[in-house]
Symmetry: C2
Subunit: 344 residues, 2 copies
């Protein structure tokens, strides 16, 4: 017989994990009949919550934990830094603090969250950088640690029962592509990441959709991919220009920056305007070089996520549950350079 | 008679604030004779530490608190974001977590830190953005909250007795100016912030020193200043070019970015190489546009600061006290563009 857990007990009894957790930690929140039934099952199952941890748990920390990744090049990390600023503000608005920790990998991340949770330092956790086969939400649920993810449960959006919010990358690249089409460009390319990266495939899909919808032929060739960064953008753009591409949408500002450099090297006599390049993430770099970019509404994401997690932690708080249709937040194009109609 | 405080008691007894605090919170750390003497004075003075808070205080949180500012344009905030990443890592290395909070102003910052400290959520605080007449270190000391500042106590470096680490901005601009001088440029200008901003004056001083040292005449005119940002950099550079300036050192990457834009607008036929511009902070933007910039060694600062604060919180920890000569950390020039010798 396997050791009983919050989740196995909940499944057995046909109640939610939260209900079992409440019977242990906040019995006053549970209807007497349910409380009695769950309490009985707990006793019979031999389930033993950590006693010292429980004692601490009764004293709510009103703190949410989040792993922070090492400092990056500042282009790709910029979005997460902005998310962090907004998340702290939103949590505080709801009476919660944010505690940061580092971890060597996702396994360690769960271990760290568990330790903080068990010693009563955090009430729940925020996850970032979700991906297919991401085991963190299930592992945290198993440990009874409430969590909310910035990033969808790739591959199992329907089945996942944890809280999540994500940016609809596909809608962003679709809008950017349509924008270039509306200016009269037709040969629009895409520079992205190798197939298999979930958010990369999602961003590529937005471009494909817009090109298909416009009824343009031969667009399938006008794409290139590689590791994120300016070198990939540069080489890709050189290749796409040879194919006659007259504008590109990119999966990141780093790639877009490389594409701009390729164009700059070719035409030293004029400004960048000749051939439009649209980046993704609307980083400070994009703003500084007046490059159009797709902006992730991270403030809105932080708001929704903090509110939903706090509601989950304390239904009497000012937080509120997420509506399913709020989970995918649509980005907006930040147009900067003047995307001129093509010269024929 | 004013209400006795930790600090007034310490002064009266000729012991440190930490000793008085230890007698209350960790008496085993204090020598018996001292302990008795301080205990007696505390009783006689009528000093009443908050009892509920004391109870919580005996349970160390091993957490450090820090205010996080709202998300900025990502150029000026980039340094603080990098500092934050490193600070979390360094704290964790020493067994501490970092808790973030927001505040409306410095008064509110102290109030928030106090509340977190009194309910036992943090053991100490990290301050950033220090300035002359900064009352936070004294106010926190008065409340018995250990603190460490990233930023020097401007105007009272000698008198301040709290922990601090800062970047030696003057040494940075001096090195950058000498670098341009060594390439044969002589008419080197400076674009900074209006006089009275401590770090701005400090960065200007490094340029003045190098120009004086080189025995170049008339350099005093080759300076401009204004609110931080690309517009100031652009207008300033246009003016300095009229004065025949052939290279500039700037107080920030935003200013440098504006200066580069002024040069770009003037010479559309070639690349940026003609006239060297050196920024400050070595932000991702500088790297992206291959602009030289003065790099603040924030990782080193975070390391020193975390170690000194943790040592102050717990002398038996792996932290260590700062040596006075470690407090000013010298930045390094990150040379990127090829600063060509001047064309005569």
């Amino acid at each position: 017989m396997t050791r009983p857990t919050l989740v196995s007990l909940a499944n057995e009894l046909g109640v939610s994990r939260q209900t079992v957790s409440n019977v242990i930690n906040a019995p006053h929140l549970v209807r007497p009949e349910t409380r009695e039934r769950v309490q009985k099952a707990i006793t019979e199952s031999g389930y033993r919550p950590n006693v010292a941890a429980q004692a601490l748990r009764n004293q709510r920390s009103r703190t949410i934990g989040m792993r922070i990744l090492p400092a990056s090049d500042g282009i790709n990390g910029a979005i997460m830094d902005r998310f962090l600023h907004h998340l702290v503000a939103e949590c505080q608005e709801l009476g919660y603090n944010l505690m940061l920790f580092t971890a060597t990998d996702e396994r360690d991340e769960v271990a760290q969250a568990r330790e903080l949770f068990e010693r009563g330092s955090i009430d729940g956790a925020v996850l970032t950088g979700t991906h297919a086969d991401d085991r963190r939400p299930a592992e945290l649920a198993e440990l009874g640690i409430p969590c909310a993810a910035f990033g969808r449960p790739w591959g199992k959006v329907e089945q996942a029962d944890h809280i999540w919010v994500d940016v609809d990358g596909r809608a962003g690249t679709r809008a950017a592509t349509r924008h270039l089409l509306s200016l009269g460009h037709t040969r629009i390319g895409f520079i992205g990441w190798p197939r298999g990266s979930e958010s990369g495939d999602d961003r590529r899909a937005g471009w494909s959709e817009a090109m298909t919808e416009a009824g343009i032929e031969g667009w399938e060739q006008w794409q290139a991919d590689g590791e994120d960064g300016t070198p990939t953008g540069l080489v890709s753009m050189q290749r796409l220009e040879e194919l006659g591409v007259e504008g590109v949408v990119c999966a990141s500002d780093s790639l877009a920056l490389g594409a701009r450099e390729a164009i700059r090297r070719r035409c030293t006599e004029s400004h960048f305007g000749e051939l439009p390049v649209i980046g993704f993430d609307n980083t400070p770099v994009a703003a500084a070089i007046t490059m159009s970019s797709i902006a992730q509404p991270v403030e809105r994401c932080a708001q929704l996520l903090a509110s939903a997690l706090v509601h989950d932690l304390d239904p009497k708080s000012r937080g509120r549950a997420l509506q399913p249709d709020e989970r995918l937040v649509v980005p907006v194009l930040a147009p900067r350079s003047i995307e001129l109609p093509p010269v024929r």
